[in-house]
């Protein structure tokens, strides 16, 4: 039977490794061979690593609003003067770099979307380096993150236009929290609760990109999504559980997305897009396209 809920995933992963359960599930769903599925996931992780190396601090986005902040944050992280410490500083830097690379037309891996592409790499790349993990281990964690995204997509949404930013950055954060929790040896139950805690923390986040461009507030929200992924994973590893059952959290996410006003769902009308500054950029950009 296909896994279609977090309860189902917790149950399937109670006795067996989550990676094995999810890989099997994928092969069954797509009628794919194990080796083909693995090859494709390895390719995606390799692309994430390449994208991480490909950051260019000199680039600026179409509107000129985005670029260079990843390098600023990286320098700050290395300065010894951070509030969060060097490691978390590098996570923030990685999130910004990936978000900026996306806005500046560099190659990235959508996870689950292009706008939220920085969250997963931001938690995975520094963790891999710190723990000295091999790529194969990271690929296993990718399956765990993908399965969480799949369940959210099925029960709620992963598109800002239909569910608000909670569906993009919120989903990415849940996926990242689950991957981290899995890598750190958390049980299937802990993994699913980490995801649920992350979703709850970002519930209600609206999608309000200035001028409809994936730049502001998107890039910096990747850093926020990564932070919440880390705190959620650590809570779950500590034995803390989401008081609300994980599937009910996803159902709540759907309800909030449905109730969200259309001006707050990728229309470039409400939220920060609707501020005088946001509107001035929108005006400038529409002038450009004439």
């Amino acid at each position: 039977m296909a896994i279609d809920s977090l309860a189902g995933l917790m149950q399937a992963g109670a006795e067996r490794d989550l990676f094995d359960v999810i890989l099997e599930n994928d092969c069954r769903e797509r009628g794919a061979l194990r080796e083909d599925s693995l090859a494709r996931m390895r390719m995606l992780y390799a692309a994430i690593r390449r994208a991480g190396r490909g950051y260019d601090p000199a680039l600026r986005s179409g509107s000129g609003m985005v670029g260079g902040d990843g390098a600023r944050m990286r320098a700050h992280a290395a300065s010894g003067k951070t509030i969060c410490g060097e490691y978390i500083g590098s996570v923030i830097a990685q999130a910004l770099e990936m978000g900026e690379s996306n806005a500046c037309m560099k190659c990235i891996v959508a996870a689950p979307t292009a706008g939220s592409c920085g969250v997963l790499p931001a938690v995975l790349l520094p963790y891999q380096q710190r723990e000295g993990l091999d790529d194969e281990t990271m690929v296993r964690a990718m399956y765990v993150s993908g399965m969480i995204g799949q369940i959210i997509a099925r029960k709620a949404s992963i598109a800002g236009a239909s569910g608000g930013c909670q569906a993009e950055i919120g989903s990415a954060s849940a996926m990242a929290a689950a991957a981290l929790c899995y890598l750190a040896g958390g049980s299937a139950e802990a993994v699913c609760h980490a995801a649920a805690i992350a979703v709850k923390s970002l519930l209600g986040l609206v999608c309000d990109p200035i001028a409809g461009l994936v730049e502001v507030p998107c890039v910096k929200r990747n850093a926020a999504g990564a932070m919440i992924a880390m705190s959620s994973a650590d809570m779950a590893l500590a034995g803390i559980r989401s008081a609300v059952p994980p599937d009910e959290v996803i159902a709540a996410m759907r309800e909030v997305g449905d109730k969200m006003d259309v001006s707050l769902k990728e229309t470039g009308v409400g939220g920060v897009a609707g501020t005088p500054f946001g509107q001035s950029i929108a005006k400038k950009m529409s002038g450009k396209s004439e």
Partner: protein
């Protein structure tokens, strides 16, 4: 949605619908024209493609696709310069295409041979696309599967010409669409099939009376390989 709809595509940003989808629209147009890089492309952008396309690089993405680039090609950002090098001229206009998906483009391509091809395609989100009109006739295919397109005079017998050729070659049909402008006028048959049609099958169809043009586009690679 499967796990690879969640993770991936590997793509040049910033938007899967406005950038990656736009590259794919350019690619399918190039493949449908079938003669390599066109010498001229007229591109009409509609809806949100027109409104936010410039900031999302939709224009550069379509040109990149017309030049044959994949969604992860970092030359997308500088595709206009590549087009100049390859001798492809192009014009963009904002147009209103009614009744289509919000992210829609119309392309009119001219091949080196002088042949022209007209196509309307929409970007559906997550990089997925749909061709909704081909040479003025309604269509509904993505180009992800091997696709056989037969343009013919609207007269009896052509469907069986095509299906018997495929049966003869042992090729299974996944979907079949028919449309025409008016009875006895121009018609198009679009078949998504399970594997590639051998060259002689295409040539045989092309020689059949009443069939004006046969185009085969093979499956797009599932995912850009590293």
């Amino acid at each position: 949605m499967n796990i690879f709809d969640i993770l991936g595509p590997v793509m040049v940003g910033p938007s899967s619908s406005h950038t990656a989808g736009a590259v794919r629209i350019g690619r399918i147009a190039r493949r449908l024209l079938g003669e390599g890089t066109p010498v001229h492309a007229w591109i009409g952008l509609s809806g949100s493609f027109a409104a936010t396309g410039r900031g999302h690089g939709t224009d550069r993405a379509i040109i990149a696709g017309l030049l044959g680039m994949q969604t992860d090609d970092e030359r997308i950002a500088s595709s206009f310069a590549c087009a100049a090098q390859e001798g492809m001229a192009f014009t963009f206009e904002s147009v209103k295409l009614t009744g289509e998906h919000p992210n829609t483009a119309k392309l009119i391509l001219t091949a080196r041979s002088g042949r022209t091809m007209e196509m309307v395609a929409s970007s559906l989100g997550g990089g997925r696309i749909m061709v909704v009109e081909l040479d003025g006739l309604r269509a509904n295919f993505s180009g992800d599967l091997p696709t056989l397109i037969v343009q013919n005079m609207d007269q009896p017998g052509h469907v069986s010409d095509v299906t018997s050729m495929l049966a003869h070659k042992g090729i299974n049909i996944a979907t079949l669409q028919l449309s025409r402008d008016h009875p006895g006028g121009n018609a198009v048959m679009i078949l998504e099939i399970d594997k590639a049609v051998p060259q002689e099958g295409i040539a045989w169809l092309a020689r059949t009376e009443g069939i004006r043009r046969v185009t085969f586009v093979d499956a797009e690679p599932v995912e850009v390989q590293a």
